[in-house]
């Protein structure tokens, strides 16, 4: 029990920035982190084997909860990154910040790796076009 508590605390601290990228609000992100632990705990069917793929499973629950909550939550961030969809932000963060491999990312999204690769490329190109627009708007403003 102590061991899993410690492991979950580490995961919570490590994935807080991801939670913030999905729900850009301190309170919401903290709540998301805590609720993902509870959701993970409730999804377990046995007291053993919890350490297998704990990280991927935790991130899966984090994403699922964020997806459900995003329907009822609007935020006012205007950065290019926050103009992307929830899934695009999730994939970009995992790939470009945490350098996750495609198969883990696919498991975290509940999809096939091929689909995930295609979605990452779409997310990147969307991000680049948002950045270009932002840059152009900045130049026009000056």
């Amino acid at each position: 029990m102590e061991e899993i508590n410690q492991e979950m605390e580490d995961l919570a601290c490590r994935f807080y920035p991801l939670a913030f990228c999905l729900c850009p609000d301190d309170l919401m992100a903290t709540q998301l982190i805590i609720d993902s632990v509870a959701r993970w705990g409730l999804s377990q069917t046995s007291l053993e084997n919890w350490d297998e793929e704990l990280e991927v499973e935790y991130v899966f629950h984090l994403y699922e909860l964020a997806r459900l909550r995003s329907k009822h939550f609007a935020f006012k961030k205007t950065d290019s990154f926050f103009k992307l969809s929830l899934k695009e932000r999730f994939l970009l963060y995992l790939r470009d910040k945490l350098a996750w491999d495609y198969s883990s990312m696919a498991r975290a999204c509940g999809e096939r790796p091929e689909t995930t690769i295609a979605q990452i490329h779409q997310a990147r190109s969307a991000m680049v076009s948002h950045l270009k627009l932002e840059k152009a708007a900045g130049e026009t403003r000056w």
Binding site: M1, C13, C21, P24, Q44, D96, K97, D101, M127, V128
Partner: protein, 154 residues
């Protein structure tokens, strides 16, 4: 209105060569594979391709552009720092959540054990009541006696 020109006619041979040179200076057939290696960091390019990348200016330019793109995307992703009291709050909440989840699992385990015990008890009682009663044994004895008589008679 833009007019089209047929490049493969003998009259346009200069234009054809000019276009071909222009295309060759901007495109390299191997640069298509370059993105696969750059994107899929787990795969190492073979000796031929490694040598080609070192020599081909077009591939080098593409690789530079790609890493610049990745850098710009990476820079645009925000990294939030942990809020105040996050660790203490999360520690308490996580402990509670996990305690509840594990309690539920233990209850579930004990329930399934109890149901197994209950089923065993039911069958045991049924066995004692049905198969070990005097009437049942009398019935069995009568049936076997009549079967023996029938066997000898017939």
């Amino acid at each position: 209105m833009v007019e089209s020109t047929y490049l493969y006619s003998k009259n346009n041979i200069d234009l054809y060569h000019r276009m071909l040179d222009e295309f060759n200076s901007s495109e390299c057939v191997f640069s298509r594979n370059l993105l696969v290696f750059l994107e899929n960091g787990e795969r190492e390019p073979g000796p031929f391709y490694s040598k080609h990348i070192n020599e081909c200016s077009i591939c080098q330019k593409k690789a530079r552009e790609y890493s610049a793109l990745l850098m710009s995307v990476n820079r645009a992703i925000p990294v939030a720092s942990l809020p105040e009291n996050f660790q203490s709050l999360v520690k308490r909440e996580i402990k509670e959540s996990l305690k509840l989840a594990f309690q539920r699992l233990e209850e579930k385990d004990s329930t399934s054990l109890w149901s197994k015990k209950f089923l065993f008890q039911v069958f045991e009682d049924l066995g004692k009541r049905t198969f070990l009663t005097r009437d049942f044994l009398k019935g069995i004895a009568l049936a076997s006696l009549s079967a023996a008589i029938l066997y000898f008679v017939l």
